[in-house]
């Protein structure tokens, strides 16, 4: 955001450019990614269950196939719900972002391009995750309710494609943090010519 516009907020923003000490979006991202990826992984484990039987037996781990599909369903459902908050905080914090305009990322993009792709990608991923949760719900409660293998191969394939999008999207987000220094206190202090070591030891 333009620094003249940010001045309208007065001195409510701290050294990291936010009204609170640590950004919230990256923490919600942990939940979004962790739950979604594990959800799909458990559905894959459920689909391939016959192959795992000997391993589970070797480890003396009791496992019921339908429980793997329970994990697949609840994890993806929770991921879809929490991602609304992830995207909301993402946009709030991106509107307050003042990245270094002189920097080009490892992928050859400047700050504005990176933020636009990360913003659009975030909304697209939210839509895809909600779509996946709904699709998963139909499989669980209607189409494949009485089937031993609760999920379709196409659902698994769609999940893997979303993993790839998440990798691209997550890397853009990581670049905003670690290359452009968005809402990063030490990076912002360095850009203003201050010494973070002295600042934090005060």
């Amino acid at each position: 955001m333009d620094s003249d516009l940010l001045k309208q907020l007065g001195d409510s923003l701290g050294a990291n450019g936010l009204p609170y000490p640590l950004p919230v979006h990256p923490n919600l991202v942990h939940i979004t990614l962790g739950l979604f990826i594990i959800g799909i992984a458990f559905d894959i484990a459920g689909v391939l269950f016959p192959l795992e039987k000997s391993i589970l037996k070797f480890l003396s781990l009791t496992a019921v196939r339908s429980n793997f599909f329970d994990v697949g369903w609840y994890n993806v459902l929770a991921a879809a719900i929490v991602t609304f908050a992830t995207v909301a905080f993402g946009f709030y914090e991106m509107l307050l972002a003042t990245p270094d305009p002189k920097v080009t990322s490892a992928w050859g993009l400047n700050a504005m391009e990176t933020m636009l792709w990360h913003g659009v990608g975030g909304v697209a991923l939210l839509a895809l995750m909600v779509g996946m949760a709904v699709w998963r719900g139909f499989q669980r409660f209607a189409w494949r309710k009485d089937m031993i293998r609760q999920v379709q191969w196409s659902y698994i394939m769609a999940g893997l494609a979303i993993f790839f999008l998440m990798y691209v999207h997550g890397t853009l987000g990581a670049q905003l943090a670690a290359e452009f220094g968005v809402h990063n206190t030490a990076d912002r202090l360095l850009r203003m010519g201050e010494n973070p070591n002295l600042y934090f030891q005060q």
Partner: protein, 165 residues
């Protein structure tokens, strides 16, 4: 010996980006979700959620050891400046301890589940609430290392290399 390693990039890493913060996605998400599932399971008497909780906890335990390994590598390459050292030391100590505590919780849960998968004792639920607290504290400290102190971010690595920090 350092000649055998790939050269360090502008993040002071031998690979493109930090891996530890990616692996901790799984630990944080699964520990918190395991607790949430137990909690909802107790109140709705939906014991199926106990199994969801167990599998999340089991893989959170697998993930935390990978997280500690990458954490140790990346902490070793962080070259923390004076102001960061206390936080990094605390994060390291809690991280190692948490891997032991989480493994202990999973073992306890394994025994409980083997005996009776339909019930959860109050003692277990209380300790898992403490575990959630420690995971949140650990996440908070990790957040500080990245977002306040900027470890492995390009501007901070650059300043350290120039001797400015």
């Amino acid at each position: 010996m350092l000649d055998y390693l790939p050269p360090l990039n502008e993040h002071n890493l031998p690979y493109p980006d930090t891996i530890h913060p990616i692996v901790v996605h799984f630990v944080i998400a699964m520990v918190l979700f395991a607790f949430l599932c137990d909690f909802i399971g107790v109140f709705t008497k939906n014991t199926r959620l106990y199994e969801v909780s167990w599998w999340n906890l089991f893989f959170a335990t697998v993930a935390i050891f990978i997280a500690v390994m990458f954490g140790q590598v990346e902490a070793g390459l962080a070259e923390p400046y004076a102001a960061v050292q206390t936080t990094l030391n605390l994060h390291t100590v809690i991280g190692w301890s948490l891997s032991a505590v989480l493994a202990g919780m999973t073992a306890w849960r394994f025994v409980l589940r083997t005996k009776d998968p339909q019930t959860l004792p109050v003692a277990y639920l209380s300790v898992s609430l403490v575990l959630v607290g420690v995971v949140c504290l650990q996440t908070y400290l990790g957040d500080q290392l990245v977002w306040m102190y900027g470890l492995h971010t390009v501007p901070v690595v650059e300043a350290i290399r120039e001797g400015a920090l």
